[in-house]
């Protein structure tokens, strides 16, 4: 495996388990290099000091904290190493929570890391793992990574433990900024039932292999075509959808419903009887009985008035 990005020890109570940390994920986005358009050479970023008006080497740079406008205090690597925190070089477990008690902001994860126990700590490491798994607990810990103290959760994962760094509570933005309803939204039983059916129809197991980054694949396809010297095939424009198609779908559906009524077993033939039967089911606020018996009318064409274009008098 790749280089460990951190080395330290899990600590809780008097127990110390030396471990290494590895990034559990990697970015698979396609990287580009900036080139000089004229000769396609890689360009370089130089560190520039505007006071001296010259390019300076990285070795001449230091880390500064702006404690007041334009006033800096310099923090050396040594200063950083000496930050007086118990969590330096350690993963200090503060508490064990029920794994499904996902309150306390444990949903706001940043980055996942694999833990690898040093040989000397293996037994304690797997003891911790098996107890976490059996009791269904998650460990909440603090760790210093990249100069920053981080909050983290530790869960059993496959043959190891997974450490996920979490956002601090003060980094989690308030819901106040959103417009959310004050009161509970009233949901009718029928609506709930429909939603449940929809969700049930899409019920499935999560198989990550089913999901792919399609943008990346398409971009890679374009790149490969260019490497091979071909002009990439432009994306096929989807046939624009037209509102007329929607009207056609409506017509087809009405025709199908008409056909179903005509053919429906036990149903009266389409016509007055059906109309009356249905009308007695559906109520309109006090209104004359539906007039039946007329030949099935289509659209508005049945009116007798002339389609005149003389409406100035209206």
């Amino acid at each position: 495996m790749a280089r460990a990005m951190w080395r330290g020890a899990i600590q809780f109570g008097l127990v110390t388990i030396p471990v290494k940390l590895y990034l559990a994920t990697e970015s698979s986005s396609i990287g580009f290099n900036l080139l000089h358009e004229k000769d396609l050479s890689r360009i370089q970023m130089k560190i520039y000091c505007p006071v001296d008006d010259e390019v300076i080497p990285r070795s001449e740079t230091v880390r500064g904290y702006e404690w007041s406008k334009g006033k800096y205090v310099v923090m050396t690597d040594e200063d950083m190493e000496n930050v007086p925190l118990k969590t330096v070089r350690s993963i200090e477990i503060a508490a064990f929570l029920d794994a499904d008690a996902e309150e306390a902001g444990a949903q706001f994860v940043k980055q996942a890391y694999y833990l690898e126990p040093d040989e000397i700590g293996r037994k304690a490491f797997y003891l911790l793992k098996s107890v976490l798994a059996e009791t269904g607990k998650t460990a909440i810990a603090k760790i210093v990574l990249k100069d920053r103290e981080q909050l983290a959760a530790i869960h059993p994962y496959a043959k190891t433990l997974l450490l996920t760094t979490l956002h601090w509570p003060d980094e989690i933005r308030s819901l106040e900024e959103l417009s959310l309803p004050e009161d509970e939204i009233e949901i009718k039983a029928s609506e709930r039932k429909m939603a449940e059916q929809l969700i049930a129809s899409m019920d499935g197991e999560f198989d990550p292999a089913e999901f792919r980054d399609e943008y990346r694949e398409a971009l890679m396809g374009v790149i490969e075509a260019k490497v091979a010297g071909q002009e990439p095939e432009p994306m096929k424009k989807a046939e624009p959808t037209k509102i007329g198609d929607l009207m056609a779908a409506l017509e087809a559906s009405v025709a199908a419903a008409r056909e179903a009524r005509r053919a429906g077993p036990g149903e009266e033939d389409a016509g007055a009887a059906t109309a009356d039967a249905k009308a007695s089911g559906g109520r309109k606020p006090a209104k004359k009985a539906p007039s039946a018996g007329r030949a099935r009318a289509r659209r508005t064409e049945e009116d007798g008035e002339k389609p005149a274009r003389r409406r100035k008098t209206a």
Binding site: S190, E191, M194, A195, Q197, L198, A238, P240, T241, K242, I243, G244, D245, L246, M247, A249, L250, E251, S253, V254, A256, A257, R258, A260, R261, A270, T274, A275, D276, K278, A279, G281, G282, R283, K284, P285, K287, P290, S291, A292, R294, R296, A297, R298, R299, T300, E302, D303, E305, P307, R309, R311, K312, A314
Partner: protein, 203 residues
């Protein structure tokens, strides 16, 4: 004109039945080549739906006011609540907007609201030529329950019923315009998101 609710679809030959398209109510004003789209809560509706500017080219007359529904269609041509929501909230402009006109309020610079809906609808069809994005909706006289059955198969949850003999009524429409809910088809209901995420009805 605001619709009144009724319990269920019905049949009546004084009514024109149309789908209650899952979109927002929009009043369109066309005068001297300029177009204005009035959608509740949106100051610049035409900015969010610029494609609908082509509507002016479909009108046979000037000084026209239309009443209809603004939709956003997905790639498959179905009205999509989420795409519409994205458009209405501004910023992005996904999907293809469409406008289904149902009623005519003004024509030739004159109000026609005192005419019966039967006549207004007829005139609407002569004034507004069907296009790729804007069209007069397909309506059916009398067969409300039949149209409701068809709509439940399409996953549309409302039926609009406009009274052919009624004039355009400002405010509450009374009997002139009714809305009936449609229950999904049995035995296998096919709920859609548009159905569950009930869209606001605009103005």
């Amino acid at each position: 004109m605001q619709p009144a609710g009724v319990d269920a679809p019905f049949d009546d030959d004084d009514y024109l039945f149309e789908p209650w398209w899952p979109g927002v109510r929009a009043i369109t004003f066309a005068e001297r080549g300029a177009l204005r789209l009035q959608v509740a809560g949106l100051t610049d509706a035409l900015g969010a739906f610029p494609e609908l500017g082509e509507l002016t080219g479909q009108l046979a007359e000037d000084g026209v006011v239309l009443d209809g529904t603004l939709l956003v269609l997905d790639d498959a041509g179905r009205p999509d609540a989420e795409l519409l929501r994205a458009r209405l909230s501004g910023g992005t402009r996904p999907g293809r907007p469409a406008y289904v006109a149902s009623d005519l309020l003004w024509a030739g610079g004159q109000p026609v609201t005192r005419r019966s809906f039967r006549i207004r609808r007829r005139w609407l069809e002569t004034i507004l030529a069907p296009g790729d994005r804007v069209t007069v909706g397909r309506g059916y006289v009398r067969d409300g329950t039949l149209v409701a059955e068809a709509l439940s198969a399409l996953g549309i949850d409302g039926l609009s019923a406009r009274q052919l003999s009624a004039r355009y009524r400002p405010g509450q429409a009374g009997m002139a315009w009714l809305r009936a809910p449609i229950v999904p088809a049995d035995p296998r209901p096919r709920p859609t998101l548009a159905l569950i995420l009930r869209l606001p009805l605009g103005d």
